[in-house]
């Protein structure tokens, strides 16, 4: 009886200790498998900016520069931006299984895939996942797997779809219409299933 009580107490202790770790695991940042790819990459871009760092960096964004002002507005409520981009000097430097392992982390009820593009012609695959909390966007993950480039973007925090469109339209890139995204997602996913 005593032994059983002790075992129960130990189990509770383990559960209590593991809770913060589980809570942290819910908030996906950079999967460890992605970090390993940098060893094989020709060029690696790593950007890790959590909340305080984002707020500090945004202080240096000029309000007079329209581009920087938009960026400041965009990142105002974000909790983090994590980017890993790997450029390889030859095709097939990473396996499909590695990318699939990456994608599988976002096949949970918290995440919904809004865009999934599979191009057999040039081998460019792009997935966009939204995290919704109370019908509001709480994060976005972009996984772009190209022949010689693999990019993982995780933006954590409340991000309005309009702001997302601005993000796509900045830096000389045409604006991404949110309506196009929602329309195209179903078509793209249909194409993916094939």
């Amino acid at each position: 009886m005593k032994i059983k009580t002790r075992t129960n107490a130990t189990l509770w202790l383990v559960v209590l200790l593991a809770l913060p770790m589980l809570a942290r695991a819910q908030d996906v940042k950079i999967p460890p498998d992605v970090e390993k790819l940098s060893a094989r990459a020709k060029e690696t871009v790593e950007v890790t900016m959590d909340g305080p760092m984002l707020r500090w960096a945004s202080k240096f964004l000029s309000a007079e520069d329209p581009e920087e002002a938009k960026c400041a507005k965009l990142v105002a409520n974000l909790k983090g931006i994590y980017v890993r981009s790997f450029e390889f000097d030859k095709d097939g430097a990473y396996s499909a299984a590695e990318v699939e392992a990456l994608r599988s982390q976002f096949r949970s009820p918290a995440w919904s895939r809004v865009v999934g593009v599979r191009s057999e012609r040039d081998g460019d695959n792009v997935d966009i996942f939204f995290k919704l909390e109370n019908d509001k966007m709480a994060g976005i993950v972009i996984i772009s797997a190209e022949a010689r480039e693999l990019t993982f973007v995780n933006i954590v925090g409340p991000l309005e779809v309009e702001q997302l469109a601005d993000l796509g339209g900045e830096f000389g890139i045409p604006k991404l219409n949110p309506k196009d995204l929602s329309k195209s997602s179903s078509k793209a996913q249909r194409g993916d299933r094939r």
């Binding site: 950007v47 960096a57 993000l167 796509g168 196009d180 995204l181």
Partner: protein
């Protein structure tokens, strides 16, 4: 020249020398005047020390003020250095942030172009079937 003449000349020279080198008493008050002059010279300030700018720092308040000024300048220098370093780090962080947004934007654009491509293909296929 005879010997008698020579002796007369010598005697005259001796008289002249004796007259020139005879003991004379100092004028009245000479010693007092000399002592007074010496005392006056001792009292007078050193002309070299009087002209030196370093003498300015011999006063304690000036010394403390100079020390405070040096310390203030050092603190200001460190502060300026820290502000500049913080600004440089902030600019670098801003560039990283812009880069991250640029990459995210580029990939969103890639997704959009692919989706548009697929839409265009589907529309073409539909028209062909019709």
């Amino acid at each position: 020249m005879t010997r008698m003449n020579m002796d007369k000349d010598d005697s005259r020279m001796d008289d002249a020398l004796r007259n020139a080198l005879r003991r004379q008493e100092a004028p009245d008050g000479f010693a007092d005047r000399v002592l007074a002059r010496v005392a006056q010279q001792n009292l007078a300030p050193n002309p070299v020390r009087h002209d030196s700018w370093l003498r300015f720092f011999t006063q304690p308040i000036v010394r403390w003020a100079a020390l405070a000024a040096v310390a203030g300048a050092m603190i200001l220098g460190v502060h300026v250095y820290q502000v500049r370093r913080e600004r440089a780090e902030g600019e670098a962080a801003k560039q990283r942030l812009m880069l991250a947004l640029r990459i995210a934007g580029t990939k969103l654009q890639l997704a959009k172009s692919k989706v548009n491509e697929m839409n265009a293909n589907q529309t073409t296929n539909r028209h062909v079937k019709e």
